[in-house]
Amino acid sequence: MNWPPMLMHVKVKNKDTDFGIWIPLILLLLIAAAVVIALSPLIILALIIMLMVGMERWARFTVLSLWTAFVSVWAMRGLEVNVQNSKDIVIVSVISEEGIGRKIK
C-alpha cells in the first residue's frame, strides 16, 4: 500500500538560527480533505455554473488543480533534501509511517 506522508521535518541551522519544526502532514491532509468535503456542494455548484456559461476549461482546471495538489502531497513520502556548507544546513525530510516504524526498530 502507498502510505501517505505522516510528518515533515524542516531544519535550518546557521550561526544565527537553529530552527527545526515537525509538521504533521497527515493531520493537514485530513483537515484539507475535510474542508474539501465540506465545501463540495459549493465546488460542484461552481463547476456546474462554469460548464453552463461555457467555461469548461476553467472547470477542468479547477478539478485537475485540486486533484494534483492532493496527489502531490501524497507522493511526497520519502522526499529528502539536505543542503549544507560550512555555515548553513538545510534539511527537509518527509517521513511516512514505514519510516517512523523503521526509526522505532
Partner: protein, 161 residues
Amino acid sequence: MTASKKKILEMLAQGRISADDAYKLLNAVDEEVGGNGTETRNEDTVNTKREYTADPSPANKLKPKYLRVTVTPREGADPEHADRVNVRVPMSLVRAGLKMTALIPPDALNKANDALHDKGINFDVKNIKPEDLEELITALGDMEVDVETGHGEKVKVFVEY
C-alpha cells in the same frame, strides 16, 4: 534481521559490494518485505544493482523508487567552499509533477512549440501522452549521470531502487 539483510551486510563486510550498493540492496529488501508482508527473495538472488539490471526483462527489473541528486566536494577541499547536496525525490512525486503538464494552458504549449521550432527542434509537446510519461519514468531507471567539475566537486544523478 532477515537472512537477505544478513547476507548483504556480510558482502559489505567482505568488501564485495560498496556501502552505496548495500544501501540500495537493503532498500530493495525492505520494499520486498513491505510489499508482500513476507520476504520472498531467496538468498541466491541477492546481487548488486548491476546484476539486477543485467537482465532487462520487465519481470526481473525493479521499479525505480527514488531519483537521487548528490553533490560532494573533493577530498581535502576548503571547508568554507565544501558544499554538500543530497536530494532524494520519490518517483511518485516525479510522476505527479509530470502529470501536472495537463494544467499547462494550450497557449503556453503553443508558445513552447514555437520556441522549439525556432531552435530547430521539430517536436510537438502536445503529443506527450500519459503512457509516454510512464515509459519515460521507467527508462529513468537506466540513467546515471556522473559529472566531476574542474574544482573536483562530484555531481551524481541516479535512480535508487
